[in-house]
Amino acid sequence: MLSPSSSLRRARPLLGTLVEIKATGADQVLSAAVDAAFAEIERVQRLMSFHDPNSDVSLLNRCAYKRAIKINPRTWAVLARAREIAKVSGGAFDVTVAPRLVKWGFLPAADGAANLEVKQDGYRRIELLEDCAVRFREPAQLDLGGIAKGYAVDRAARALEEHGIRDYVVNAGGDLRVGATAEAIHVRHPACPQQLIPVGMLRTAAIATSADYFTRKKIGGRYVHAIVAPSGGRPAKQRASVSVVAAECMTADALTKVAALLRERAVSVLARFDAEGILIDRRGARLLSSSARSTSSFGVGAGCALP
């Protein structure tokens, strides 16, 4: 006999955003499963926060240039995926662009890091050693803000699955992963975020979106974006929203940065990770996909004046 099942929807302030978990499953495990999922997100936050002086990231930034530092396997796994995406994208994704983000005020300043260089292939300074150890070949400032949120979502999804929950949505400020039942996914219009664009149905996969509507800043008379190219440290183009669908949210999260910088040229990088993207800007919506069925572009609805 099937045990009684119900649905739960909870939200907590974590990862600098509101993290929402919806889950459906057997009554006797549901609440414990959701608690375990949130606990896993808190753990990832503690390990990978740029702000927390006790995180692995802060520890590496303070000490890894002087000696190899042993870190949590979770942090190491994120660094390994970050390196893979950096290599395949020709350095478009790079976890060492933090000094530019600090300069523009997207990240707080840390001791002694203000004058670090942002350069092409800067990620190569980070050496991944055996036994979850890491060493910096040169001084570097690491920031996992472009990938850790997606990883936290993956870990939360795994915690739910380990409790036998198959139907769920974990949404950490737009980095979102869906379980066994298909869910309609919306993205915000990049120029008027009150408009929601239904982009598709998603099941057993993840989607992440990057856009600047809530995060851009005006510096030196022009707006800058929180995504910067390692080469020259230039910001991504403005007023666009980029979403990437992939099996894992960590991959989707990191690939949105690649897609925001490379746009149409990101298609081959996305394909290497079995991912697809959608780019929405003032010209409409375009799919970033090598698949034949999805080469057409379509409008995203009128009624929104670009400021």
Binding site: P13, M201, T204, T209, S294, V300
Partner: protein
């Protein structure tokens, strides 16, 4: 080839959401979530002008309501319901404090998002007053999965700082 078999890009026009709200919990459910099985007793605390000023000085956050929605927990600790207002969002949240004043858990009770003047408009906000306790607020409750930079949790973080200062100034 599309690896995500159910994934279909839908060429559909945008829908407008000037107001959007999600009720996660009633206050009673939030109490049971944060302090399972505990006995909670409502306490009525009204801050004095001096306390208000001191809380604002310590937290750097304005105290907009001198009535603290507070429950004492039988085993020690407090349960507090508070509200924060951002540019587009109006959030009711519950916070559990351990007996030593540290944060036990935070749960969002109701999240409301609005574009236009409404969030900053006191008359608009008044429609929600008291409604979180019993009936859920019914606005636009369709379940929406929004992928895309959502608003930050900075205002909730500010609210938590204010609650912790309130604990030190008025409850400790």
């Amino acid at each position: 080839m599309n690896r995500y078999a159910p994934w279909v890009w839908l060429p559909v026009a945008a829908i407008s959401t000037s107001v959007y709200a999600t009720t996660y919990l009633t206050v009673e459910q939030a109490q049971q979530t944060i302090f399972p099985g505990a006995t909670l007793t409502q306490a009525f605390v009204t801050l004095t002008d001096d306390q208000k000023r001191e809380i604002e000085r310590r937290s750097g956050v304005e105290v907009s309501n001198k009535e603290v929605r507070l429950w004492k927990v039988g085993s020690g600790g407090y349960f507090i319901v508070d509200e924060v207002i951002g540019k587009h969002e109006f959030i009711t949240y519950a916070i559990g404090l351990n007996a030593d004043g540290s944060v036990k858990q935070i749960e969002i009770v109701v999240y409301r998002e609005s574009y236009g003047y409404e969030v900053r408009n006191a008359a608009w906000r008044r429609q929600f007053v008291g409604k979180t306790t019993g009936d859920a607020v019914r606005l636009n409750q369709d379940i929406r999965n929004i992928s895309g930079a959502t608003l930050s949790s900075r205002h909730v973080a500010d609210g938590v700082r204010r609650v912790l200062a309130t604990y030190v100034v008025a409850l400790k």
